[in-house]
Amino acid sequence: MRDAHTPAPRAAFCRRTRREFLWEAGASFTGLALSGLLDDGFFARQTHAATGIPFANPLAPRPPMFAPQAKSVIFLFMYGGPSHVDTFDYKPELYPLDGKTIKVKTKGRGGERSESRAVGPKWAFKQYGACGKWVSDLFPYVARHVDDIAFIHSMTADSPIHGSAMLQMNSGKIQSGAPCLGSWANYGLGSVNENLPGFVVMLDPTGGPISGAKNWSSGYMPATYQGTILRSKGAPILDLAPPDDMPLEAQRAMLDALRETNTAHLLSRGDNSELAARIASYELAWKMQEHAPEAVDLSRETEETTRLYGLDQPRTADFGRRCLLARRLVERGVRFVQLYSGGAHNDDNWDAHGDLVKNHEFHAGNTDQPIAALLTDLKRSGLLDSTLVIWGGEFGRQPTAEYAEGTGRDHNAFGFTMWMAGGGIKGGVSVGATDEIGSAAITPGPGHGNGDKPGFHVKSLHATVLHLLGLDPNRLSYFFGGLDQKLVGVEHVEPIRDVLA
């Protein structure tokens, strides 16, 4: 399956003896067991130089606060805001209202309104699984997994505007500058694979989401915790591939010479472990060059697997490929993987203001089979037990039309659906509810990150994710600007207990 742009995995590189000798010779002068620094796991260990000054990799694995249910997270981000009443939140009473003007308070891109024309759900719902969950015809593949899924039907967010709502779903705040969920996970737990980034983001081929890099920024935390963009084609990571006129053999020769030079420089500065760390970082980069392409190389996957993900179909090939990559990354210990379904603007993502049917048929059709395949594949490989899969967008959509004509729905942050599956999640349950037409959350009552309002705030979702990773959302803090900053904010926030296994 490897396309021409993917660098071949470098199985072995064997011409290093002469330089290895130089390296060992250099190291012997320093009083530092430098060769040991390059062992597997160097970056995963806290160690210190002979002089007693400690140093460590901020991504070194750290034990969780309590026993975790999940080790990794795959966040399937349905950018633009999928309509909950057309997907997983079954509203039989909404169908007959189609075309009628109804009184309902809404707030979206088009401002606040108190009455509008209802748009009935455009797809039929059927019941699936032992739990009898109603799922629309948009997601026939995912529907077969409902017994592994916990649906949260009364999500709420603070903003019905893409930019700020995206920031909130990713970082908890409606303003930029705060670290993202993936940053917090890596800050709390570190990464168990030093050859791959701990927080990986894979974008839609149409482009990034609104606000671009702010959606995977580490904000006020060090850049170590920011998301790394991984491309499913070409060199997977920026600057990972050396240019063509620097062959790997030449690069290895240079790295050896560099190490030699830096070791000589270290001779009289042996107490400075930062220098030693920088020497080691070049070796680690070398290893990343080798391992990252291997992680994205699908040539060793069976045909059955690639078909499962829909790689043989033009509609599903791209998202399927990224879902399969997500599994491979999680398999290799990557802590947090985020995939975007949809990019750029308007109908390139789930933002169905005009023709809901066309938009959602397109995006659901591109993603349904791959998402189901991911769940199947994770489950059969045993990874689902330790991998939390999250599905959802930055908000949902209104039960009413936005324009005088057509089926398009405006944004809805008062109530929408997200679902989770895998590590620590109770399958086959649905928690929280919106009103009978899906316009706003009505249960549970206040107390879920929402002040005096009902429903589960984005903070509750974040608290649940951290909790499943073995991190106490109300204690995981980072001191910045004179305050202990937390992903979930100042007020105490409970995880969503009813979805926990």
Partner: protein
């Protein structure tokens, strides 16, 4: 391996402190690994007597005060005040009994093994060293001292010098003085420290050859006079003021003229502008008696933060913007984290919530940020003559436009009259250059549309106000702003009528002529008569529609004509209204005659020409206020701006009470543009007796020379901050700075002339063993070049470096893969010519959502909030960028070309000569023969074994040099 506890204490140590505890060693452990730091903190202290400010206060602040302090007093206990801490508690126990640790309940609680009793209840137990600190302090009488930073600066009696203070600290710890670093090291250190660039080979030679006693002083003076000094130190300031040239959020739109603020900082530093003046200009330059261009540009300070042009909650967004200003101002100028008191009293510092809002009141009258316009832009003039010329030119242009318009209108008038005699005349034609902006939201009355984001916009060539103009029209909840010019035939009185459903407002030449606001139906038109000059008068109509019925009817009459409509007659108005311009084109010749039509066409052409003409003028991004009086300010319950204001919570502008400040002296400046509140604040901040300002800036100057401040938490001088390692030295520096007229260059020189600055960075066993964190400054801490220094140094080595200063930002080529992460790939990013790209990094456009990857990898400050201390991380992605990235490869090629040019040497030893030259250029020192031999061997090896083309091998060797630790680190 040191045994390290891993846990997540509830109250970790400030990240800046962590950064510096690791200073001189691996500083990539930031924030995350508290336990290492705790281990370091509790390392056995040398036998220094317990000091409240240094030892006890930070411990109380970190572990006790959140629950037993100003905001919360669990069990009735308060540990930030001696009277309260030593009083009997409800339980009968006494927490602190001065002189008697055994009787002090606190000792039992901090040493208890019982998890129900042990204090603090969360996080790690106090270490043995911490317990000892508490015991010794109680034993010694448990004296509290007012927090050091809130006390007045004390100028030490001794004729101080930096080295006297440093030596005293060394002696107290029994540490020897470190020898001076060698001259080459010193020159490299100081050249980077002052200018951010490496020394030239000539400068190295000159210094090494200068045997006079004043050689060092000459170097220091030369560097401080270099224009590169301003460029380098401006970067430190820009980190603090969260400088960026875009707004973040969905559009991440550009802030107009933001680069002028960057240039202002560079110029101010190079001119050695007194720091007090520098502060006043930024906070209140627009209110100065004489408003210079510098002073105007400086107020761009207020406009540099995040701004959401489409907030979900406008009121919340407004106060988030003010919070950004309060946070940044209090942290940057005062070292106070006043932002922590937005929602409740500060948990640790004696800063009640009232103080936050009393500070906010100074800024409350500031207009919100926008995309452009008078609210955030003002013209700049080189002097009064330039201003006069501009005003004259503008007036002249307007006059010519008016005349040209009158000439055109006169013909149109004749045409219309002639046509009216024939049949019904065409509507429209009275409005020119009409355009609409369309908004969507629900309102009860007209909003300030200019502060909102419009959803659509476009021209209205039909020349009629038309509420059906927007293509995405909807029945409810929308608004319009129409702008254009009213073609007034001649001077005279004109009567306007306005009817609308719902609210509307008609404005001509900036004056509201008719206002018919609120929710209502049509049927009762309002009328008004105004005197207008003939020509082109700016006209604007604001309109909003709530629910149900909608409509808009505007008409006018005047000398020589009866009421004519200015609005489309129905929502299908565009079809009904006949376009005067089209009519006159079709029938003009028939009605007016060929001659008159030719004349008319000439006049129209002349008018169109004039309409395009602009009087060019430079503009600045500035702060403005709503006028001379400010809105009332209230303390918001839990920081919620939607909370109902309560008269008891009203506050007036005031300085934080803990500093025992005077009442602000507020005088509105002449001109009526603003309140004068910001001037009062700026005057207090720069008052010589302000206890914080001089300490904070003196500490920052020290920080950037030594790699860490005397107070490591450079923007937090509060109780949670780090205590100064050399409090008397800090006060001495602060005192000298103020006494010397706030001149920063003098302060730099004082620091650079010290022996402490010139100390070697070499480790000595005593120092490493007894003071591994270098609290005593027993040596100079090594440090890595900053992101900008590294990039600039690569350009210098390659020879591509372009020293051009100032002006609009540059755009280095951004990798396609990075542009692809944008929702509109390439949007908001340019591609400057190669020579421009080779300018210093400070001139790179700062786009919040698209930071230059190489710089971001090397710990560029995140521009979303004030950054007092950068991280220093070491990550493999840095190595990837430095080994594989396009920029490095391009520069390595140039570097190799340069080396070939400059190497000389015969054919036989060409390689050796080139290698030698490359080493000299990159490392700015002579190369050793061994280094040359190794370099030649590598090139040889690359060519022979690894199949690299002959020329390419030299390039790769050059690339390697740019990757060495010696290149990237300063001794």
């Amino acid at each position: 391996m040191q045994a390290v506890e891993r846990r997540f204490p509830v109250r970790p140590i400030p990240s800046t402190r962590v950064a510096h505890m690791m200073s001189g060693s691996a500083r990539w452990v930031l924030g995350g690994i508290w336990a290492i730091v705790c281990g370091a903190v509790t390392a056995p202290r040398p036998a220094l007597p317990v000091d409240f400010s240094r030892d006890v206060q930070p411990l109380l602040a970190r572990r006790c005060i959140a629950c037993h302090g100003p905001d919360t007093q669990e069990a009735g206990l308060r540990l930030d005040d001696r009277t309260r801490a030593t009083a009997a508690l409800d339980s009968g126990a006494t927490a602190v009994v001065p002189g008697d640790p055994a009787a002090s309940a606190v000792m039992g609680r901090i040493t208890s093994d019982d998890p129900d009793l042990r204090m603090p209840p969360e996080g790690a137990a106090l270490s043995a060293a911490e317990v000892a600190v508490m015991r010794d302090w109680i034993e010694a009488g448990a004296e509290w001292q007012a927090h050091w930073a809130f006390r007045p600066v004390v100028r030490p009696g001794v004729t101080g010098s930096i080295d006297a203070f440093i030596d005293a600290g060394l002696a107290a710890r029994g540490l020897p003085r470190t020898p001076e670093a060698d001259r080459a090291t010193l020159l490299r250190r100081v050249t980077y420290g002052v200018t951010g660039l490496p020394p030239s080979e000539g400068e190295v030679r000159a210094f090494l050859d200068d045997a006079t006693p004043s050689a060092w002083e000459k170097v220091v003076d030369r560097l401080l006079a270099s224009p590169h000094y301003g460029e380098h130190w401006a970067r430190h300031w820009l980190d603090l003021v969260r400088f960026a040239e875009t707004n973040s959020f969905e559009r991440d739109g550009a802030k107009p003229h933001a680069w002028r603020y960057r240039d202002y900082v560079i110029r101010s530093l190079n001119d050695d502008k007194p720091y007090d003046r520098f502060v006043i200009e930024q906070l209140a330059g627009d209110e100065l008696e004489e408003v210079t261009n510098d002073a105007l540009v400086a107020t761009g300070y207020y406009r540099l933060g995040l701004w959401d042009d489409e907030p979900a909650d406008r009121l919340q967004a407004r106060y988030d913007g003010l919070d950004d200003i309060v946070s940044t101002t209090s942290q940057v100028f005062l070292g106070l984290t006043l932002n922590c008191a937005r929602c409740h009293d500060h948990k640790i510092d004696p800063l009640p919530q009232r103080d936050y809002y009393a500070m906010l009141a100074f800024f409350h009258n500031i207009t919100p940020m926008g995309n452009g316009g008078d609210q955030i832009e003002r013209p700049l003039f080189e002097g009064p003559d330039a201003r006069r010329t501009y005003e004259e030119k503008t007036a002249d242009l307007e006059r010519r436009r008016d005349e040209a318009q009158a000439a055109v209108t006169a013909v149109e008038h004749r045409f219309r009259e002639a046509l009216q005699r024939e049949a019904a005349g065409p509507a429209g034609g009275d409005l020119d250059d009409l355009a609409f902006r369309f908004y969507r939201d629900a309102w009860r009355s007209l909003p300030a549309f200019d502060e909102l984001k419009h959803e659509d916009e476009g021209p209205l060539p039909g020349g009629l106000f038309d509420i059906a103009a927007a293509p995405s029209l909807r029945p409810d909840n929308f608004g319009y702003v129409f702008t254009g010019f009213l073609k007034v035939p001649a001077d005279g009185d004109y009567t306007f009528s306005l009817d609308s459903d719902d609210g509307s407002r008609l404005t001509i030449d900036g004056r509201a002529v008719l206002e018919y606001d609120g929710i209502h139906g049509e049927g009762s038109p309002k009328t008004a008569t105004v005197r207008l000059a003939g020509g082109r008068r700016a006209i604007r109509l604001d309109y909003f529609q709530g629910h149900h019925g909608k409509g808009l009817t505007v008409g006018w009459s005047g000398p020589g004509f009866e009421r004519r409509l200015l609005s489309a007659v129905s929502t299908a108005g565009r079809d009904v209204a006949r376009d005067l311009a089209r009519a006159i084109r079709a029938e003009g010749e028939r009605v007016l005659g060929a001659e008159a039509m030719r004349d008319y066409n000439e006049r129209v052409k002349a008018l169109e020409q004039l309409k395009k003409e602009r009087v060019s003028v430079d503009k600045a991004l500035v702060v403005t206020e709503h006028g001379p009086s400010a809105p009332e300010t209230f303390v918001f319950y839990r920081g919620n701006p939607h909370a109902e204001p309560d008269a008891a919570n009203r506050v007036v502008p005031a300085f934080p009470a803990i500093l025992a400040p005077p009442a602000p002296a507020i005088t509105p400046p002449a001109g009526g543009r603003s309140t004068g509140r910001r001037t009062a604040l700026a005057r207090w901040i720069t008052a010589p007796d302000n206890p914080l300002t001089a300490r904070v800036i003196a500490n920052r100057v020290w920080q950037h020379h030594f790699g860490r401040g005397i107070v490591r938490s450079a923007s937090n001088f509060g109780l949670m901050g780090d205590p100064p390692t050399h409090p008397e030295l800090l006060d001495w520096l602060a005192g000298e700075l103020v006494a010397g007229g706030w001149r920063l260059k003098a302060l730099h020189k004082t620091i650079l002339m010290s022996r402490a600055y010139r100390a070697a960075s070499t480790g000595i066993p005593d120092g490493l063993a007894r003071d591994p964190l270098n609290d005593a400054f027993w040596r100079f801490d090594m440090r890595r070049l900053t992101a900008e220094q590294l990039r600039d140094s690569v350009l210098v080595a390659s020879g591509a470096f372009n020293p051009k200063m100032f002006g609009p930002a540059i755009y280095p080529t951004m990798p396609q893969a990075v542009l692809a992460t944008q929702s509109r790939p390439g949007s908001g990013w340019g591609d400057s010519p190669a020579a421009e790209q080779a300018r210093r990094s400070i001139y790179i456009h700062v786009k919040r959502s698209l930071l230059t990857p190489l710089l971001a990898d090397f710990d560029l400050a995140d521009p979303d909030s004030s950054c007092p201390v950068r991280f220093t991380t070491t990550q493999p992605t840095q190595a990837l960028g430095m080994m594989n990235g396009d920029f490095l490869h391009a520069q390595a090629r140039r570097f190799a070309e340069r080396v070939r040019r400059e190497a000389g040497g015969t054919n036989a030893d060409q390689d050796a000569a080139m290698v030698r030259r490359a080493l000299e250029v990159a490392l700015v020192r002579p190369a050793t023969d061994a280094e040359v031999t190794r370099g030649v061997a590598l090139i040889d090896d690359l060519e022979r074994t690894d199949g690299v083309a002959p020329g390419r091998a030299l390039e790769l060797f050059c690339l390697l040099l740019l990757n060495t630790n010696e290149f990237a680190y300063l001794d």
